[in-house]
């Protein structure tokens, strides 16, 4: 083969470095309408129980309640770690939205021994900085712009002075120089998840560092990091038409339940959260009984279990987080929200549906797949292929899984067709599904997708670790992640039709439309 070079737009990919940073799963808005690459999976085959459920996962629960899932696998000598705390956006009270995500950032700042050059000297600054911040909040309340500017500057100066005693980014550097890959974390409505991969012979490093930051974190460089989070919010929401539409849509759909609050937090809240708020939040929620760790890779399970007990065993148990008691009252009529933006139109529709723990959850997942899962799905075929009024249509169930949520559809109208045209066609298709139900062939297609997906999902250690941690944290059993195929087999066409008729109704939906508004 000859030697020509790829003429690629390397510049564009350089922002991909952002992936190295602390990504947040929140507020990312509708899924990017990336080119879908076909892929509709396999004959449901003979899977009972599914291959996933037969994995030799060792479950260890420490006396303090912390759970470990340890899975040895052949392959390169690497190991993937996922640490999931069962707290996220839904546990935030009004006025403190975004605190879980802000804490996620702050846990990369080190501990009493990691990230410091002189802890006492550093801590001596904390009270001074915090009290200036208290005064700043007062100045903000009275709109005293001179004071606001002076005090903001003072915080920066004091943090700069404190920085003389800080070993910035030491936590990251320790892991990175040992070859760690993908060090990152994400915050969702219901969980905060930290993850990294290491060469297998360096596994103990993870235990030392994670246990340390779970026990003795220091929220140094707090106010500069809070500014970083404000920038993250600007990037994902305030400067993004899709992100803004997503946030406004959820706020309209959930007026009582915290699913209506942005996980990244409201700007007004983020600007008020103090270091003390964060300390309180941390000590209340980051407790071992609320925590699951999944370890997957080329490891010895006995060794991992010993390390788990040695490093995490003595952390105080704490109390379980208070239950989320807010219940969204039944919806009686359609809700609509409009967003003006200097951009092409976007459409979002969400129907209230039961939680993922509900018996009907499988039927709802199937509905989502029937509507937009692949090129032969009903909405793709109708909107994109036949009528050509949209360039893409996607759906998902969210924003979380533990509480009643939304079956949400994102559609990108194709000019000159207005969102209303797309919306009307979506309703036609939804009503037809509620009337006639799916064909057996359609249902079989979804079963195949799930069955093949169950095999493919086992290809990556990190992916498996995520699934084990999430199923355990949210559903109490790691096997749950593999049980979808089984439940699907029992599902009938009538079950799916009934779910469509019950949930995908006019009174049960919230519609958000983004329209062009000149600046």
């Amino acid at each position: 083969m000859a030697s020509r070079l790829t003429v690629s737009r390397l510049v564009v990919s350089s922002l991909g470095v952002a992936a190295l940073m602390l990504a947040s799963g929140c507020g990312s808005g509708p899924r990017a309408p990336a080119a879908r690459t076909s892929g509709v999976p396999a004959p449901a085959a003979t899977l009972a129980p599914s291959p996933g459920e037969r994995l030799p996962v060792r479950e260890v629960t420490l006396d303090n309640g912390m759970r470990f899932l340890i899975l040895p696998r052949d392959g390169a000598p690497t190991v993937s770690f996922v640490l999931q705390f069962g707290i996220g956006g839904v546990h935030e009270r009004e006025g403190q939205t975004g605190i879980a995500h802000l804490l996620e950032h702050m846990l990369f700042k080190g501990t009493t021994t990691i990230g410091t050059r002189d802890l006492d000297a550093e801590l001596a600054y904390f009270d001074r900085i915090d009290s200036v911040h208290d005064t700043l909040l007062v100045a903000r309340a009275s709109d005293d712009t001179t004071a606001i500017e002076r005090l903001s500057k003072r915080i920066v100066e004091l943090e700069d002075s404190a920085r003389a005693f800080v070993d910035s980014n030491a936590f990251d550097r320790i892991l990175t120089r040992e070859g760690a890959q993908g060090l990152n974390a994400t915050t969702t409505s219901e969980a905060t998840i930290y993850f990294v991969e290491l060469p297998a012979n360096r596994a103990e490093l993870w235990f030392v560092l994670e246990a340390d930051r779970m026990r003795d974190p220091v929220f140094r460089e707090f106010y500069s990091e809070r500014s970083v989070v404000l920038e993250e919010r600007r990037m994902r929401v305030d400067a993004s038409p899709g992100g803004t539409l997503y946030e406004r849509h959820l706020a309209e759909a959930f007026r009582v339940h915290p699913y209506g609050q942005p996980v990244v937090g409201h700007m007004r809240d983020l600007e008020r959260i103090s270091r003390r708020d964060l300390e309180h939040y941390f000590s209340r929620y980051y407790t071992p009984d609320n925590t699951v760790a999944a370890i997957v890779g080329d490891i010895d399970p006995d060794h991992m279990e010993r390390l788990a007990r040695r490093y995490f065993g003595d952390i105080e148990a704490g109390e379980p987080p208070p239950a989320v008691t807010a219940v969204e009252p039944p919806q009686r009529e359609e809700r609509r929200v409009e967003v003006g933006w200097d951009a092409q139109p976007l459409l979002r529709i969400g129907w209230r549906v039961p939680s993922q723990q509900d018996d009907e959850a499988v039927a709802v997942t199937v509905l989502s797949s029937l509507l937009t899962g692949g090129r032969s799905s009903r909405l793709h075929r109708r909107l994109v292929t036949e009528e050509r009024v949209a360039t893409g249509v996607f759906s998902s169930v969210g924003p979380g899984s533990r509480f009643p949520g939304l079956l949400q559809i994102d559609a990108t109208p194709r000019a000159p067709h207005p969102p209303e045209t797309v919306e009307a066609l979506i309703y036609e298709e939804v009503e037809r599904l509620a009337r006639e139900g799916p064909s057996e062939r359609e249902l079989e297609r979804v079963r195949n997708q799930v069955a093949a997906g169950a095999v493919r999902r086992m290809t990556s250690n990190l992916g498996l670790a995520f699934q084990l941690a999430e199923s355990t944290s949210l559903e109490g059993d790691w096997r749950e992640t593999f049980r979808g195929a089984e439940r699907l087999r029992e599902l009938t066409r009538e079950d799916v039709r009934k779910a469509a008729a019950r949930y995908l109704t006019e009174q049960n939906r919230t519609v958000a439309v983004l329209r062009r508004e000149e600046p």
Binding site: T6, G39, T176, G179, N201, R375
Partner: protein, 481 residues
């Protein structure tokens, strides 16, 4: 069980009662001391090497992996829009998507989809400016059937007119939507500024998408030029041996004809250095900044290239362990993401610079911090410690290059396609280990010119401040797309 103390109380406690620490399991060491005391041996592992075969003159790589009942096949064809005139831009860009969606001779798009679904065949098609690639993943039991269908999609695409029209419509829509995202605007305008009318500077426009640019003849012409054996590399991984794969791969390759004529040489861009400040007004809560100048340091088995790799990581491409990130994000809190970029194409100049996004009011301060960081490399050259951290990171993380068989095969295919030696990864590993702080300082000294940067800012002019921008240099306002 150790009581969890509030932070400040804990700090006091350590001062008066260090004994508390001894209740921490694993001895009296602090976590910091424990980390410092840890030493790890090299990561030992066997590097799987793909087997190499020839089928009808085509190189086929194979790496068996019996872990799961799945087989993946990948193909790469040299050739993409970057090799043809602008009149072929749309057709060459459309080719991968239309091979996937446009049906095959004697089989409508719907029937293709139905068969893909029935046998759970997962496909991807894609292209850069210089190559077209595709991969296929399927349960082992359907390997033969899947290769036959996929082979037809690649070799005998029907370019169904209805699917061509759908593709065209989607492209027209993305042309309309491009201005909606400030990041896309920034990168596309930056490329246009520096690369002009070279494929790197092209951006799909309405005129490119005239139906006449996407006729069956045009598509066939581009397909014929790219999808032929001399341009082809094949890789197979998964639950299959060469004995099992061979007849299937042979049938696959034989569907693809030999090339009637060689591909044209890619045009060499005349990269224009345009020092100065360029502004595109866009009223948003965040501005996007791209700054860079041309540089000529190609990817090669050359000490200078390896020094540049390490230098770029230290300057700003190494995440939290790099200087730009440390200054712009950690210290100043100006941005969520900030990094350097240093591209190293092999046959023409690349770019050296940085990118970030920040609220408009801090756009200029952020650029100034980046520039100071760059200029500061002279007074505070990269330290031995920084170089060691960066090299250790590559050496210790080397094993991650061998985690996944399809990653190993696709990487080897990439080296072959780029005319790099097959053992390039080994050479790279050796090359970076030979880099020292002097070499990094030297490569910056030779190549980095902060005063020559083209600085492009997309954002709200009033909030950025015209005066502030003028501090950076003469400002040219570009039209808002």
């Amino acid at each position: 069980m150790k009581k969890r103390l509030p932070l400040r109380a804990w700090a006091l406690a350590t001062a008066v009662a260090g004994a508390i620490l001894t209740t921490v399991p694993g001895a009296a060491q602090t976590p910091r001391e424990r980390v410092d005391a840890m030493s790890f041996g090299p990561v030992r592992f066997e590097q799987p090497t793909p087997e190499r075969y020839e089928v009808e003159g085509v190189t086929v790589l194979l790496l068996e992996d019996r872990d799961l009942p799945l087989v993946t096949t990948m193909v790469g064809f040299e050739g993409g829009y970057g090799l043809f005139p602008r009149s072929r831009y749309a057709a060459a860009t459309a080719l991968p998507a239309l091979m996937r969606y446009g049906g095959v001779e004697g089989m409508a798009p719907d029937s293709v989809d139905a068969e893909l679904e029935t046998y759970a065949i997962q496909l991807s098609f894609g292209s850069g400016g210089g190559a077209v690639s595709s991969s296929m993943n399927v349960l082992t039991e359907h390997f033969g059937r899947a290769m036959a269908l996929w082979g037809r999609m690649i070799a005998e695409p029907a370019f169904d007119p209805s699917e061509v029209e759908i593709w065209r419509g989607r492209q027209m829509e993305s042309v309309l939507r491009r201005p909606d995202d400030p990041g896309t605007v920034a990168f596309s305008e930056f490329n246009a500024l520096l690369y002009g009318d070279h494929p790197i500077g092209w951006e799909m426009a309405e005129a490119d998408l005239d139906p006449g640019a996407l006729t069956r003849e045009r598509l066939d012409e581009i397909h014929r030029r790219i999808v032929c054996r001399d341009n082809l590399l094949v890789g197979v991984t998964g639950d299959v041996s060469w004995a099992e794969a061979r007849p299937v791969v042979e049938r696959f390759v034989r569907r693809i004809p030999e090339c009637a004529e060689p591909l044209p040489e890619p045009p060499v861009p005349d990269v224009r250095a345009r020092p100065g400040v360029y502004l595109i007004h866009k009223e948003l809560d965040q501005a996007v900044v791209v700054l860079a100048h041309p540089t000529d340091l190609p990817l090669a088995d050359d000490p200078e290239y390896f020094a540049a790799t390490i230098g770029n990581t230290i300057l700003g491409a190494g995440g939290f362990s790099s200087r730009i990130m440390d200054k712009v994000r950690t210290e100043r809190g100006y941005a969520y993401s900030a990094s350097s970029l240093w591209t190293t194409p092999r046959r023409y100049p690349g770019l050296l610079g940085a990118v970030t996004r920040t609220q408009p009011e801090t756009a200029v301060p952020a650029i100034e911090v980046i520039m100071e960081t760059m200029r500061g490399l002279g007074d505070e050259p990269p330290t031995d410690e920084e170089v060691k951290t960066t090299v250790d990171r590559i050496v210790n993380g080397f094993v991650f290059n061998f985690e996944n068989p399809s990653q190993i095969v696709s990487r080897t295919m990439f080296y072959l396609a780029q005319d790099l030696p097959e053992d390039w990864l080994e050479r790279y590993l050796n090359g970076v280990q030979a880099v020292d702080a002097d070499a990094v300082a030297g490569v910056f000294d030779a190549h980095l010119r902060p005063d020559d940067m083209t600085i492009l800012v997309v954002g709200d002019t009033a909030r950025i401040g015209r005066d502030a921008l003028e501090r950076l240099g003469a400002v040219t306002v570009l039209p808002t797309p």
